[in-house]
């Protein structure tokens, strides 16, 4: 019976009306539901519209704390390989070079008085025969 009443592109008017009424009745809710829904929407809109300064401050403080922790805990970078043997070698090499340099330069500064003493004793040896010669004259 129903099928004959179908047009090509529309539901029969009475069936469409009944179906719509049925659909509306299924979504029918008591007034409290709509009031509650409006309150929930208002609450969500208010929360969304104004982020509270307290939560903003908390977020900034948390971010700063995390940054600080990462900065303190994390190593500055990969450690260089320990050049222990190189250091020993370098120290020996430096000492050797210093000795060679000192020998090449001449008398070390610390031994300078000895050199002077030696020089003066040599000059004494040379002057003594001259004094003796004066006496002879």
């Amino acid at each position: 019976m129903m099928a004959e009443r179908f047009g090509n592109d529309e539901l029969p008017a009475d069936l469409a009306a009944r179906w719509r009424a049925d659909a509306i009745s299924k979504s029918d809710r008591p007034e409290e539901f709509w009031v509650g829904q409006r309150m929930r929407i208002r609450g969500r809109v208010q929360r969304n519209a104004s982020p509270s300064p307290r939560s903003l401050r908390f977020a900034i403080a948390s971010a700063a704390l995390i940054f600080l922790a990462v900065f303190l805990i994390a190593p500055a970078g990969p450690l260089p390989p320990e050049p222990a043997q190189h250091a020993v070698f370098d120290a020996d090499q430096q000492l050797l070079l210093a000795v060679e340099h000192a020998l090449a330069v001449g008398t070390p500064e610390a031994l300078e008085p000895v050199t002077l003493l030696e020089a003066s004793s040599n000059s004494d040896v040379e002057t003594i025969p001259q004094k003796e010669h004066h006496h002879e004259n």
Binding site: N8, L11, R20, D22, W34, R38, I41
Partner: protein, 191 residues
Amino acid sequence: MSLSLPALATQTQECPRAIIAEDFEEIVCLYQRKVYRVLLLLLKDSEDADNLTQECFLRAYTNMKSFRGECNVQTWLIRIAVNLVRDHARNRRTGFWNRLLRLEDQCAAGVDPEPLAIVASPERGLLAREELDAVWRAVDNLSTRQREVFILRFAEEMELKEIAEALDLRIGTVKTQLFRALNHVREQVRR
């Protein structure tokens, strides 16, 4: 400046314009039932429909400044609602577990698993009731696109142009989808 409800209804339906924040409460009052109904018919879950109704108005509020009145407020809200349903449907895991839980609840309660199955009404004749049941079953079996078009056309009595705007489709596509949906409903009712 806040508009009275009838004035806003006239403006939003006939002479669209940009929405101002003061209008928002009135827009919620005017359209919450319609948005909820569309969502309920599409989702077939009252809790999801309630959540997405709230989400729909929240998005509307957030994007209020971008509304330039190219369509009326109702079409704009329905478009947001339909997009929310599509996003919701994309979340497969949630959908799967919700369906599973609902099915289990219904099996435990010993009721028909069809969420919107009609409860027999003593006032109506048995034949009329069967016709209506057949339409509901047919609507449940439509493709997502066809169901959207069918619900907006017959539950909300929207014009084809409005449906096209709400679903972001061409009018030709809306006509095709509606034609196919009606064919399917006709076949279901003939059985």
